[in-house]
């Protein structure tokens, strides 16, 4: 589903962000990607949805290779990979429903199916009652749910989440995580970057990858026990 092979990413200003990272996320898997800020979590996610290209190595996602996929074809990949972010990235001045409808419209849904599908997606993230509310009127947790509904418009097999609970209180964070677990249970692979160790400890069954200074330093699927980990 997602496979990074010896991926290195250099930025002209910041220098090396990733250094020879190889990892593999299988179909339907739920994985936490953790590490201090600046450890390369966001870079990894950007490489996976091809907002950036690796300096060397290869990223393969849902059959798309970073070496073969042109900028013109990225839209095809994006329809297989949903993305949510810490800052939600919703369109201000529009309602929750309009934000979802916008995504449906620009990915080519027909006029007649847009409204029922938007309502169904909002129901799926538990926001049936708030569809008509402007995003500014919603709480952080609700805004993130709208963003998740939007990420689901193409029914993607993979969901990337970059610190989705970073701006949320504990209760809202738990709600988002439960939503992710439901989506995961229906077969969606989820790669969630987070530096919230409390949350990671609360879900010990979820596979955890840890990055440090651009290197993959821990994989709970490979390690016998999480005891030897350097916490943060």
């Amino acid at each position: 589903m997602i496979k990074l092979t010896e991926v290195t990413k250099d930025y002209s200003r910041r220098g090396r962000a990733l250094d020879g990272v190889s990892l593999h996320v299988r179909k339907g898997e739920f994985v936490f990607l953790t590490g201090h800020s600046g450890s390369g979590k966001s870079t990894t996610l950007r490489l996976i949805h091809m907002a950036d290209r690796p300096t060397s190595g290869e990223v393969r996602v849902c059959g798309f290779s970073s070496e073969l996929t042109s900028d013109r074809e990225i839209w095809k990949l994006r329809r297989k990979v949903g993305c949510v972010f810490q800052d939600f990235r919703l369109l201000p001045g529009r309602t929750a429903r309009e934000n979802v409808e916008f995504a449906l419209e620009v990915t080519g849904s027909s006029r007649t199916e847009i409204l029922p599908r938007a309502n169904r997606l909002l129901a799926q993230v538990g926001l049936s009652a708030k569809g008509g509310a402007f995003v500014e009127e919603l709480s952080g947790g609700e805004q993130q749910r709208v963003a998740i509904a939007r990420a689901l418009v193409n029914d993607p097999p993979v969901l990337l989440a970059d610190e989705p609970t970073g701006n949320l209180d504990e209760r809202a964070s738990r709600g988002i995580l439960e939503l992710f677990r439901e989506l995961n249970a229906s077969g969606m692979a989820i790669l969630m970057a987070t530096h919230d160790l409390e949350m990671i400890r609360a879900y010990p069954k979820i596979r955890t990858l840890e990055l440090s200074e651009g290197r993959l330093v821990f994989d709970s699927a490979a390690a016998p026990a999480p005891a030897g980990r350097s916490g943060g």
């Binding site: 900028d71 839209w75 990949l77 990235r89 369109l91 620009v106 080519g108």
Partner: protein, 284 residues
Amino acid sequence: MHAMREAMAAVRRAPLLTALSAAMVALALYVVGLFAVVTFNLHEALSRVEERVQVVAYMRDDARDAEIDLAREDLMEMEEVESIHHVSKDEALRVAREDLPEFEDLFAAMEVNPLPASLEIGLAPGFRTPDVTARIADRLSIYPFIEDVRYGEEWVDRLHLLQRIGALATTILGGAFAVVAALIIGTAIRIAIFARREEIHVMRLVGATNGFIRRPFLLEGALTGLMGGILASVLVFVSHALVSRAVFRLDWIPWEWVLLGIASGAFFGVLASAFAVRRYLREV
């Protein structure tokens, strides 16, 4: 269809921004339009003066009609010559009396007409230049019945110089104005698109094709340019009418120029949008 809807929705959602960009486009094109009016009128004025460029050949009193007719036929065959007007001695005197009424007493007292008959040779458009007038004058002086040839050498030279300066100034200034207008249109559109970069990012993120993302912006750019162009035309027309009424009469520029101006507004709008969107398409 989606492009049209989105473009209209953008105008609806941010009417002030759209109006502001259109106003900037209008202002830029307004300056170009004023320049066009001035240029057009200068050119027209010079053409009117140019039409009066002619070579006058004064004939001896003993010139015979047969030789004059022969010379006329000869001259009419030249492509540079547009018309030949034969002014008889009597006509010359009549014109002189009309032009110089203060010498009426003198004219009345004259027993013989001292004025010579002449041939006034009008030149075809494109040949009213110092070279051609000199050449025609030389050619005329060969005929034995021609006594003297005049063609206002000095002012033909000066007119020609003026025309060349005019053409050069039009090219340089007009080009500069057009470039400035294009830059202003580009900036106006970029500001409008900058305000909507979030939408572009979201569209990229959820997998809209580049063409799909671009289309409403191109359309919006075209609409902004079109509105600006129309507004500029109205402003130029009003300015022209005011000057015509209050100061001096000005000719209105050909309507093809107006259409060209509006079309170039739309064209630059589309071009500027394409450039601006391309930048944001690369970001996510």
